[in-house]
């Protein structure tokens, strides 16, 4: 936290580790084949998405089942603007995608974040379903047929784009939540909303801000994903399994921690790809996933990250958040 001394041996060790990881990620493409590079690109995307969901689910304590909507908003905004009749370049589409996601998050988050627990979860799920149905019937989204984007077949470009986006997301969250007043506000409202209000914290505003920030990051990755895959349809970018995966990755890695979601995302995505490449397109991944999550919630309530940093505060956190459901 910001209150700790800046220059400590622990800080230096962490800085060295983060620096080494950054260098390793930067040079990784030079040492792996194209298939593995594609898996690594996917891992970075899911790490960024898990980081985004963790803002609302882990730090604010509001379990959202509607984040696939923001992923889809990013994907569809980029896809629509890159159609030949508009002809926008990829990077130009990122800003409207993020702005639209923020606008929708504020409009939806304003009323729904006054709800608590299961009511909020159901409201966000219903919102995502509504948007999924909407893009299925609209003309400009291509309906069920979806949209094709101009192909840019450069895996290195997408790897580094995902890497920069994921790094920016994690550093941004680390600074904003672990080293600023906003972090105190959001964690306070998670633990005890009436008490936070009694200290002058405008909890409804903080909740909407966190929802909007989370939506913006999610939409950013939706945009990159659309350009990367060159084709999207309603279920590929707005299906409920996108949110489910974010939730599970955060729970696995460590709810309400900075690096836990990255750990959970990488492990789950690599496992997912390994099973897919070994057993083909099978549903065996799902029961394995279920068992892993059950074991982690029971025996490592703060996720796998607690094995690395030994945090002891997970039991209360996960139970206080999940008990709202």
């Amino acid at each position: 936290m910001a209150s700790k001394p800046v220059q400590t041996p622990k800080f230096i060790v962490r800085a060295v580790l983060v620096g080494a990881m950054a260098i390793a990620l930067a040079v990784l493409p030079a040492f792996i084949d194209p298939y593995t590079l594609r898996i690594a690109t996917g891992a970075l995307m899911w790490a960024g998405l898990a980081c985004a969901w963790n803002i609302v689910g882990g730090y604010a304590g509001y379990i959202s089942f509607g984040h696939s909507a923001f992923f889809g908003i990013g994907a569809y905004t980029t896809a629509t603007l890159m159609q030949s009749d508009v002809g926008a370049s990829f990077f130009i589409t990122l800003l409207p995608a993020i702005v639209l996601a923020i606008a929708v998050a504020v409009a939806i988050g304003g009323p729904t974040m006054r709800l608590r627990g299961a009511y909020f979860a159901i409201a966000t799920w219903a919102f995502a379903e509504m948007l999924l149905q909407l893009v299925t019937v609209l003309d400009f989204t291509g309906g069920t047929a979806g949209l094709s984007l101009p192909a840019y077949l450069n895996e290195f470009f997408f790897y580094y784009t995902m890497l920069i986006a994921a790094a920016a997301s994690f550093v941004g969250v680390w600074l904003l939540i672990e080293h600023s007043r906003f972090g105190f506000r959001i964690k306070a409202l998670r633990d005890d909303e009436p008490a936070a209000e009694s200290l002058g914290i405008r909890t409804n505003l903080v909740k909407v801000q966190s929802f909007a920030l989370s939506a913006a990051i999610t939409a950013l990755f939706g945009s990159i994903y659309a350009y990367w895959t060159t084709y999207i349809d309603p279920h590929s970018v707005m299906g409920p399994e996108i949110t489910d995966q974010m939730v599970v990755m955060v729970l696995l890695g460590g709810l309400g921690t900075v690096w836990g979601p990255a750990l959970g995302a990488v492990l789950l995505w690599v496992t997912n790809r390994y099973i897919w490449s070994t057993f083909g397109d099978t549903v065996i991944y799902l029961p394995i996933l279920g068992v892993i999550i059950a074991l982690v919630v029971l025996f490592l309530p703060n996720g796998l990250i607690s094995l690395l940093v030994g945090r002891q505060r997970g039991k209360e956190l996960i139970s206080s958040i999940l008990s709202k459901l």
């Binding site: 936290m1 105190f184 633990d191 005890d192 009436p194 008490a195 209000e197 002058g200 505060r313």
Partner: protein, 247 residues
């Protein structure tokens, strides 16, 4: 406290004035036409049997609930119906009957969280002063969930102090705590009142009430049934009726 609120203060007004406030829950009247005010540096005790409306009155004053009738004035400003956060920023701060700490945060972060809407530049210095005043420096890095009940009461009281409020509402702040902790809290109240902070204290501990309160307000069935100093109240027939059922 925010500069804007300071500017809005009306000189000559009591820090807290509750005027003919009422609150109903369905057919039950929890607070019925209650008026009271407290001056700068004054400690007013609010006593009465369980269910007499004391905590509801606190909740109305702090914005946790909206009154059905009447006015709440803080530093002369009509704050009736304002949201809790806005009333808190205007200068009122409270503790809860059951300590409401941020259980996944350390004692340090609990205290700092109380200062995020105030003078952030001075927050760390004030935190050190608060830790020292309440003698909890040794648990500063502990999670709130790891504290004893008495320590939790101290941290919650410390959080209130970090707000730099004009009016503090304490809801049974010494209930069930060790005598040493009780003395720390009493000492802190005495020290803070000298700086002009107004206290409204709900308490069942009559020794404490006698020791720190300038004036007592007795509530029963949502109404104020007596008001005065400790000796006057102790001999009041209405009070004896409310507490002991004597007629």
């Amino acid at each position: 406290m925010p500069v804007a609120s300071r500017k809005a203060e009306s000189p000559g007004h009591p820090p807290l004035a509750i005027e003919s406030v009422a609150k109903h829950f369905g057919g039950i009247t929890a607070v019925d036409d209650v008026s009271l005010s407290a001056g700068a540096g004054e400690v007013v005790g609010v006593i009465g049997p369980n269910g007499s409306g004391k905590s509801t009155l606190f909740s109305l004053a702090a914005g946790g609930q909206k009154p059905d009738a009447g006015k709440i004035r803080l530093l002369g400003i009509d704050v009736t119906g304002w949201p809790t956060w806005k009333i808190a920023r205007t200068g009122i701060s409270r503790t809860f009957q059951i300590p409401s700490l941020f259980i996944n945060m350390t004692v340090r972060d609990n205290l700092l969280a109380a200062a995020v809407e105030g003078d952030w530049q001075r927050a760390r210095g004030r935190m050190e002063d608060t830790l020292e005043m309440l003698e909890i420096s040794h648990v500063v890095n502990n999670l709130a969930s790891e504290l004893s009940g008495g320590q939790q009461k101290l941290v919650e009281f410390g959080r209130v102090c970090m707000r730099d409020p004009k009016v503090i509402l304490l809801d049974e702040v010494t209930a069930g705590v060790h005598p040493n902790i009780r003395q720390i809290i009493l000492g802190a109240i005495q020290r803070l009142r000298k700086t002009g902070i107004t206290f409204l204290v709900i308490e069942h501990d009559m020794e404490m009430v006698k020791e720190i309160c300038d004036r007592l307000v007795v509530m029963d069935q949502g109404k104020i049934v007596a008001e005065g100093d400790f000796e006057t109240i102790a001999s009041n027939a209405n009070v004896q009726k409310a507490y002991l059922g004597r007629t």
